[in-house]
Symmetry: none
Subunit: 161 residues, 2 copies
DNA sequence: GTCGAAATCACCCAAAAGTATGAAGCCGAA
DNA sequence: TTCGGCTTCATACTTTTGGGTGATTTCGAC
């Protein structure tokens, strides 16, 4: 099954490793079979060097390719009233879960949320777990980001210190 | 529903590959000592290949690294250039820390950040710890919220998937 | 009256995050 | 050249989170 996209997948790394090994092996094999080319070691060296350098550069670029992506200026504004409720209903986020979500977005810990909501820590955990599955997130930072993109919570909290 | 973040880190794999290459090389070297100049070229091939792969990676990272360039617009529209840098300087947030901050805001785990930034998990932890003290936060959700209020990161970050 | 959704809580386990401390290499400024 | 900031990484430890399962109660709908 496909996973949350890491900009740099494990598959790529493995592929790179395999390529390394295969290239190396084929060069070694080539040396055994075509002894005629023995006199052109320098060419071999240069070729190998160029190949691996190119692969390395490609790999290095690949690692930072995410930052070259198009900025994608999606500016989701906070949904209001009925619109918000509709969005919440779409993702089957309940009232209590939404409250927890807001508190998480404020940067509170589960224990703090439990305290302010007058429920137990376990209850908060349950709510957050439900939010994770409903909004397809694995971490609370990801949850907040998702909720923000979906317009469930405001872009910026209104409190300045 | 399982995710790959628990798998081996990119760094580990690369190190493993390099170790393999070095092992191979030393093995060849051992043979070289006993069998004289019999297979010295193989050793050279492997060594050169490994060297240039490493150099290539280094070059690729250098060339496309955010270190020497603008912080890479991961976000939609944060503060503008000079303004942003001023805000960052005000809180003594360094380049590397800022990159980590952006990744955290994206909802990435420390391990994922370590992979995409080509550093170890411990390094990411250090950066985050510095961010916590510099932006006066205890949790990463709080960190993101603070950064958002301060205008260090955009209201809505980039999509990921 | 039963059924299901919502809310509440518990327990356990694993993974991730956070804290503290130390240290090495690099690089630019004094 | 010495000094300090940045980056890197390590080790060790504690706390928080996340995941899974199961259970109880309430309350409205069928």
């Amino acid at each position: 099954m496909e996973q949350p996209s890491k900009s740099f997948s494990l598959r790529t790394i493995l592929l790179y490793g395999l390529s390394l090994g295969l290239l190396l092996a084929s060069f070694q094999a080539a040396r055994y079979r075509f002894l005629l080319l023995e006199h052109s070691e320098e060419l071999y060296f240069g070729f190998i060097a160029a190949c691996f350098a190119a692969i390395g550069i490609w790999l290095g670029r690949r690692a930072f390719s995410t930052k070259e992506k198009t900025p994608a200026p999606l500016t989701a504004e906070p949904l209001q009233g009925a619109e918000l409720e509709k969005a919440l209903a779409q993702h089957r986020v309940t009232q209590r879960e939404y409250e927890v979500l807001l508190h998480i977005a404020q940067g509170l810990s589960n224990q703090q949320i439990a305290d302010t909501m007058f429920v137990s820590l376990n209850t908060v955990k349950t709510h957050t777990a439900n939010l994770f599955s409903k909004l397809d997130a694995q971490r609370r930072t990801q949850l907040v980001e998702r909720a923000r993109v979906l317009g469930l919570i405001a872009p910026i909290a209104q409190k300045y210190d």
